[in-house]
Assembly symmetry: C2
Homo-oligomer: 244 residues x 2
DNA sequence: GTCTATAACCGGATAGAC
DNA sequence: GTCTATCCGGTTATAGAC
């Protein structure tokens, strides 16, 4: 019953054609970067990678799935840049600004690719959309990082707000990225202005959340968010909510 | 020098092939509604409309442009439903809810088509994206309606906020529509919940905007919005801004 | 110069053999 | 897992008709 003779040790390290997959992805990203997404055909990718079209489709369901794979990679890059940059920074506003700035800096080489990714955000059926089940791991990673930003700060966050804040700030992050995609100013100056100011504003808002005048609204808003999430049974688990 | 003999009166009414264009659009919308966007081919549209493919492309640059044309039409429907429904309603929150509810009700038959439209919102290059120059007239119409909602209410809005509020609330409207697109609950119950509660919350926020604690933030936020718009020279004139 | 039609193109995606 | 051959549908080139 010895099903797998296993030729030698240390062969588990590269599960067969995993190399091929990584190679195709790397080739695709390079070509996207050089020529742009639209101008790069699947035929060109396959040829450059030294495989056939059919083989490329064996590893990636579609051209857009190549972009999704790239998305996972940029998050890794973001993590590497963001976490060290956060060291020693305590105010919430400043930490938020660090997260967002490192985000747009690490993603800069793929500015136009990000637009492709975001294009699918509105399509409920696409597996690439950030609210879909398929994107859950990436979304979780992103909110996890946001949680680190909050908890590492010296801001006092009320308990009820604390549990939702990472999700709410992730939505804010998505908004900033959407703005960035449309931003063609030199050095993305407009996005940087937006980040600097809105981060401070949001931090101030959080610090004000316990004051009597604002507290009622905070409670109402959080209750709404909870109810909306509760209503999402069959739909995607991660629930988008509106800005307040 | 009589350049145009003008055969008879009332011939200016139908400028030639305008009928054909309208007919193609109507046919396309019907087919989209019956079979869905993806499942409806340009060949099928042309055939059903009794024209050739080439002719269809003479009137509409692309399949997506058919969707843009539909968008203009839904706004007309929205207007017809919204304006009468606003009569007699004075509180800002209620008026906002009326605008949003009539919006999703009139657009309901084209729920999945709206997703197609929104898909392009992230693509800076697409003429269909709501922030683009090509979409300016439609966006203006929408903010104009929002202005009517605000000015017809009994809410007291500070002057500096008043000039920006229509634009800000238009962004809010876009967010609600994005939520609606992803909402597959029965009767769009979750979107209706979102509309009812968030409209009230926003109205409350506006009424609080003059209180000392909040006033500073209001000023800062409005200044940021103005600066962002000022920085948008070469880009689209209508500038998206972040939620606060 | 505005409208209409036919035939091809092009590129993403699939079928099925090896 | 890898390939070749093919499909399919949006789009374009181009020529003729009003």
């Amino acid at each position: 019953m010895a099903r797998k003779p296993k030729p030698a040790a240390a062969e588990v390290a590269r599960p067969k054609g995993e190399r091929t997959k990584a190679h195709i992805l790397a080739t695709a990203l390079a070509l996207f970067r050089e020529r742009g997404y639209e101008a790069t055909g699947m035929r060109a990718i396959a040829e450059q990678a030294g495989v056939s079209i059919g083989n490329a489709y064996h590893y990636f369901e579609s051209k857009e799935h190549l972009v999704q794979a790239f998305y996972a990679e940029t998050h890794r890059l973001h993590l590497e840049a963001c976490v060290p940059a956060l060291a020693g920074v305590k105010p919430l506003g400043a930490r938020l600004a660090v997260l967002l700035t490192t985000k747009i800096d690490t993603a800069e080489p793929y500015h136009h690719l990000s637009a492709i990714l975001f294009r699918t955000a509105a399509d409920p059926k696409s597996p690439l959309n950030p609210f879909s089940a398929a994107s859950t791991p990436v979304r979780e990673d992103a909110t996890q990082l946001m949680k680190l930003v909050i908890e590492g700060s010296d801001a006092r966050v009320p308990a009820d707000l604390a549990s939702e804040l990472p999700n709410l700030l992730w939505l804010f992050e998505m908004s900033v990225i959407l703005f960035w995609i449309h931003d063609d100013s030199a050095g993305r100056a407009r996005t940087r202005l937006l980040i600097a100011r809105s981060s401070e504003l949001l931090a101030k808002l959080v610090s004000l959340a316990s004051f009597p005048l604002v507290k009622g609204m905070r409670t109402e808003m959080l209750e709404l968010v909870r109810e909306l999430r509760a209503g999402a049974e069959s739909s995607a688990p991660g629930t988008p909510s509106a800005p307040s």
